[in-house]
């Protein structure tokens, strides 16, 4: 196992370099001049522009710029925004908010998604199953920004159960609605995956054996059926935690949550290259580590998986 982890960590390096390079190229090599954009309609002083370009290394060709960026990244230096603030400082403000939101969404995803999936899978073909099917289809089909607006309007304004936008990101009560919206798509997937997995496993031969052994129904379901069916679900949940952190652009925008997604969106709109690349690099690291953890978790849950 130790050797496997070491090998996986080594394999992560090219993927990390590749992904950051991809983002780097997307940000810096596509048309558009961010420095000019900074001045808006004002005529820019050529000397200032040249100075700024030099300060942000924009006068370098990419084969010098990118290695420099990675070098700085390895030293924990994510660069500065055009406003002169360290990107790491922007992140340290935004990340705790996003982590809170993502964890809350994660809990909702597990409780509701798993609950619905179990309900549907164990009552296959019954009314509950069909209701869950319709619900998940709707949630998957209606885009998140529509769900977000409807929820914000209905619960925040019409019913006034909560605030329509988040004023205080330390207030979990206010974060609850955005977390629900953020979790909605994933929880529908979790419910469907759980149900499919249960249906597949219910027909497995080992279930017939468990019945032939005269085990009580409860034990058959918990110790035999769930123990097997939940393996893919747990794996999905693992990968999804990383996605929840990075995928909150729309939700954070609707509910005005001052998290990573919002900061990223603003940076993209303002063509703030260093901020975009910095935030995405950190998100990629989160993603890579969470996928490694999922693989290891998978090995723990399923003894048939062996890592050499």
């Amino acid at each position: 196992m130790g050797r496997y982890v070491a090998r996986r960590l080594l394999q992560m390096i090219p993927v990390f370099l590749g992904t950051t390079f991809l983002v780097f190229m997307m940000v810096y090599s596509l048309p558009g001049d961010p420095i000019k954009a900074m001045f808006g309609d004002h005529a820019a002083d050529p000397a200032t522009v040249a100075h700024l370009k030099h300060q942000y290394h924009l006068d370098m060709p990419w084969w010098q710029h990118y290695p420099l960026y990675v070098w700085q990244l390895l030293h924990g230096d994510l660069g500065q925004t055009f406003g002169g603030v360290d990107v790491s400082q922007v992140l340290s403000q935004a990340f705790p908010v996003t982590i809170r939101l993502a964890l809350l969404a994660f809990v909702i995803e597990i409780v509701v998604g798993l609950g619905l999936g179990l309900l549907a899978g164990l009552r296959r073909g019954k009314v509950a199953d069909k209701l869950v099917l319709v619900f998940t289809l709707l949630v998957i089909s209606v885009p998140v920004f529509v769900i977000g607006y409807i929820c914000s309007t209905v619960f925040g304004i019409t019913l006034a159960w909560t605030t329509p936008t988040v004023q205080d990101s330390n207030n979990l009560g206010q974060l609850l609605l955005p977390a629900f919206v953020l979790a909605s798509l994933s929880l529908a997937y979790v419910a469907r995956l759980t149900r499919t997995s249960l249906v597949e496993n219910v027909r497995a031969d080992y279930m017939r054996t468990a019945m032939a052994k005269g085990l009580p129904r409860r034990r058959i379901i918990v110790n035999h059926l769930l123990r097997n069916s939940l393996i893919p679900v747990v794996t999905f949940l693992g990968t999804d935690l990383g996605a929840l952190m990075g995928g909150a652009i729309v939700t954070e925008g609707i509910f005005n949550v001052q998290g990573v997604g919002n900061a990223l969106y603003r940076a993209i709109r303002a063509s703030e290259g260093p901020t975009v690349v910095g935030i995405v690099s950190v998100l990629v690291i989160v993603y890579l580590i969470s996928s490694l953890l999922v693989d290891l978790l998978y090995a723990v849950l399923d003894p048939r998986i062996r890592y050499a």
Binding site: V23, G247, R269
Partner: protein, 313 residues
């Protein structure tokens, strides 16, 4: 998931296959004809196929359904909803937006952008990803390594995020810019699916047999590998099509997708968000159409998957 509806299992265990197969021995029964038989009985398939057909007709000839143009503005109708003028039938029962344009007409004409983006991106990623995935899976070696690593790299960047970064660089964006951005960032998913499928299929005995009989590589790939490996790709592509439409709308909603004068549900939803309380119909109809369209493709994908997956049958 529509397997909920039709789940009369066959006779289990040893009794099933030989008991029913000989009855239809005269007619060859392949995975595809079986799947088609299953599909026709699946109400989810019938409903989604009908919806998609209607959508395609609207896309091709929107003027069949309305004589009003999507850009015909009459400020007298500013934010008028059905409730404001008492009658609910006729072309104007969807109401009007802030510029007094008919929402009904805009919803109809807006289908075009969504359907084009959905279909073209899907075609793009299926052809490019499918081809690279098939070659990588079949030949292995450096090509496989390259495609697999590229896939790993692209997976680290969520589709929406990547599109935001790319599209932000273009000040003038059309449907085709969006198609290219989604396609360029989305093909790896299809490559991964195809590669996995081909790797399984190429070990099959009939492929070995074809090789032993001296069939050429092209023939093996097109006649033996492709027909047997394509089922999962079709399923993923159908469901992804709905996803691409949804992503396009999200991009337009965020202001980094399509732009005026293109008529798009995403743009209309975006401009409706500020008046959601006073004129909810301005949000409701484009959002509803968008959701129904995505729903239709996801339902279709579900139905096709259930029909093609003998395990769940």
């Amino acid at each position: 998931m529509p397997d909920v509806i039709e789940k009369e299992a066959a006779v289990p265990g040893s009794a099933s296959a030989p008991a029913t197969a000989p009855a239809k021995a005269g007619k060859p029964r392949s995975l595809w004809s079986d799947a088609w038989r299953d599909l026709r009985r699946n109400p989810f398939f019938v409903v989604s196929a009908a919806l998609i057909l209607l959508l395609v007709v609207i896309t091709l000839w929107p003027s069949l359904f309305t004589s009003v143009g999507p850009r015909d503005a009459d400020l007298q109708h500013h934010y008028l909803g059905a409730a404001d003028y008492g009658h609910v039938f006729g072309a104007d029962w969807f109401g009007y937006d802030g510029q007094g344009r008919s929402i009904y007409a805009r919803v109809l004409y807006g289908a075009r952008a969504s359907v084009i983006v959905g279909l073209c991106v899907t075609a793009f990623v299926t052809v490019l990803g499918g081809l690279l995935g098939m070659l990588a899976g079949y030949f292995g070696g450096w090509l496989d390594t390259l495609v697999s690593r590229l896939t790993d790299i692209f997976f680290g960047i969520p589709l929406l995020l990547g599109c935001l970064v790319v599209l932000n660089a273009f000040t003038h964006r059309t449907v085709w810019t969006v198609v290219l951005a989604l396609g360029a960032l989305g093909w790896t998913q299809m490559a991964r699916v195809m590669r996995g499928s081909v790797v399984t299929v190429k070990e099959a005995d009939y492929v070995t047999a074809a090789k032993a009989l001296g069939a050429g590589t092209t023939r093996i790939l097109l006649r033996h590998i492709l027909p047997n490996a394509i089922a999962p790709v079709i399923v993923v592509a159908t469901i992804a099509l709905g996803g691409y439409i949804s992503t396009e709308a999200t991009l337009s909603y965020l202001g980094i997708g399509l732009q005026d004068p293109t008529v798009s549900w995403g743009i209309d939803i975006s401009s409706a968000q500020n008046v959601i309380r006073t004129a909810p119909h301005v949000l409701f109809f484009p959002a509803g159409m968008l959701s129904i369209t995505v729903l239709a493709f996801i339902m279709l994908g579900d139905a096709v998957r259930d029909a093609l997956d003998p395990k769940l049958r």
